[in-house]
């Protein structure tokens, strides 16, 4: 379903490795069932040919990996970035989280990535092979004689259904078009929650967040969460917890996190993709983005390096705090 092929990426990576432009390639490696790809640093052409994968399951946003990878690796790293990944890339540069010159970024087009849970809801368990066939996926399972045909667009990740941009905002080289920012309906779900009564809204989040197991996957996958030491990991902070002590605490963790990434969250959607309990965490962040857009004018974190986020900037046109306060009635 992707416009660019795995072989094209392998060739590109191999040539940049062999001509010395880069010393390692951050890419996706093959798994057991076709959908379970794992990020990996490739250092040889043989390894690339044997294990490198590019398919409809390469959802992992590599930008955050660059913080630790560039820190621990002396050479230059080739990274393949999908359009949404490039926003995180810029945001991390804005925050001085890695050295730009240690990275060679190749922008690759993306047609959206598949949600394995949605896929399995159609095919059932027992997936042994997944092949692409035009606009469909052909999924072989151990239970069916013939492969099950699944329409690609029916099983996309939520963040891809509501893709905000096909534009690469950072790259050293492009494979394919630069792409364009596109219209999305990503705030529709937020608007629905805003339209709830405060009690309904509380019940909605209570229900969602009560499923949290405090695995911290949302935080650990989040490109905006790159503190050297998270307050929730610090025993000295007094709020360090490995398990939610009560239902209030689950909310506290997620709400504090949402506040901390406000204005820096690019809406890459990794938090919701990685949540083992399917909590729609991205909606918290989108609410902040929607409010920022409405209060201070359209702002997209990571659209350019060095931009000043409205929450850390001041202009005379800024909304008065009183007006923000008044809006609570509109929301309620």
């Amino acid at each position: 379903m992707q416009k660019i092929t795995q072989n094209q990426l392998i060739e590109k990576a191999a040539s940049l490795l062999s001509d010395g432009t880069v010393n390692a390639v951050l890419g996706w490696s093959r798994g057991e069932f076709g959908y379970d790809v794992t990020p990996k640093m490739f250092k040889t052409e043989e390894d690339l040919k044997e294990n490198f994968v590019w398919n409809d399951f390469c959802g992992v946003n590599f930008s955050k990996y660059l913080v630790s990878k560039t820190d621990r690796f002396d050479g230059k790293i080739l990274v393949f970035l999908k359009p949404c990944d490039t926003y995180s890339f810029n945001q991390l540069l804005t925050e001085h989280r890695f050295e730009r010159e240690k990275v060679y970024a190749v922008g690759i087009p993306c047609e959206g990535m598949v949600d394995v849970i949605k896929l399995k809801a159609v095919t059932g368990e027992g997936i042994s092979e997944i092949k692409e066939d035009g606009e469909n996926l052909l999924v072989t399972t151990i239970y069916e004689d013939a492969p099950v045909k699944v329409a690609f667009k029916d099983v996309l990740l939520e963040r891809c259904i509501n893709c905000k941009s096909k534009k690469h905002v950072a790259y050293d080289e492009l494979m394919g078009d630069e792409g364009e920012v596109i219209e999305s309906k990503r705030f529709d779900e937020v608007a629905k929650i805003e339209a709830m009564t405060p009690d309904e809204r509380f019940a909605f989040w209570q229900n969602e967040l009560s499923r949290c197991i405090r695995c911290n996957a949302c935080r650990d996958a989040c490109p905006a969460c790159t503190c050297e030491k998270c307050v929730f990991d610090n025993p000295q902070s007094g709020v360090e917890n490995k398990a939610p002590a009560n239902s209030f605490e689950e909310k506290m963790f997620h709400i504090i996190r949402a506040y901390h990434v406000a204005g820096r969250c690019t809406d890459c959607g990794e938090c919701s993709r990685v949540c083992p309990q399917n909590i729609p965490l991205h909606l918290l962040n989108r609410k902040f983005i929607k409010d920022i857009n409405e209060f201070y004018g359209e702002y997209q974190a990571g659209a350019e390096v060095g931009s000043r986020a409205p929450l850390v900037d001041y202009t005379t046109e800024d909304l008065e705090p009183g007006e923000v306060f008044d809006r609570r009635d509109i929301d309620a």
Binding site: F33, D36, R211, R214, K242
Partner: protein
Amino acid sequence: MLKCSLDKINSVFEEIAKTAKLYIPADDKDGSAVYKQWENGIEWSSSLNTVRSPKDFFLPQMENLMEFKTEGKNIEVIDNRCETEDFVIFGVRACDVKSFEVLDRVFLSEPVDSYYASRREKGVIVSTACSKPSETCFCKTFGISPEEPEGDVTTWKTEDEIFFKANTSKGEALLEKLSAYTEECDETVVTEQKEKISAIMAKLPLKDLKTDAFGGGKTEEFFNNPVWEELSGSCLGCGTCTFVCPTCQCYDIKDFNTGKGVIRFRCWDSCMYSEFTKMAHGNNRITQKERFRQRFMHKLVYYPENNDGMFSCVGCGRCLSKCPISMNIVKVMKKIGDVDA
């Protein structure tokens, strides 16, 4: 062997719930299965398994151990134990039943963990044979039988019937209570069912995964393997694998200051976390490589060394489907053990 029509399953649940809290896998609103306390209207999920393992029933993610209240120079110790109720967990899969044995070997050996022990004593486990395993299943690797799971009672579910067999006196007592709904039968249908499951198991992608390379006494062999660096290289350091795992049993005990006293509680901990087993001198597992290695060495080498060769993985596949970056014990076993499967 006893059987009962599935039409009557609600009555069976109702009967069990009369004398004990009953928990069954039920569908959550997002479609995934979760153990819920049964009440009229809660239906038995057709999902293969729950996202969270049933270890919560014996080792809850968080439990209060005791409270202290201070008044002047007096300290009052308050017993706030709550693990005193009888309960039944219904529909537990073979892998998860086996995980209780893994936990037993830790918590029931001296010094016995009395919180865990009383929950084990109060709980009755009703297992259900698998009928549609997932590609992520590899329980056979650890000698587990999805055809005939262990537990106080084993059940087999067909299209329209459910079959019961008691394995323990607790199980017999439970089936006694259900006698109004069940009838004696021979094992023909169950035998057929078991054969079907075996045939499916033989088709699973991970069917050839073996543990031969692992076990006690292999610390030296694996500890300094350079491959840990590569395998752990993409690990995010989150605790998903450890928290969905039915056998991960590490915990922390902490004091919560209430202002008027202290609540001492226990909560799950994760070897993936940077503060895990932090001591006065600091931490002996400084990077994610050491933390990652610890998790797999524990399951494949240290635990079997201390437990007569038993591995502390049951092949449930939860880490395979839930790891955000799809790194898991199967990939580790294949790479480290050079296991070709």
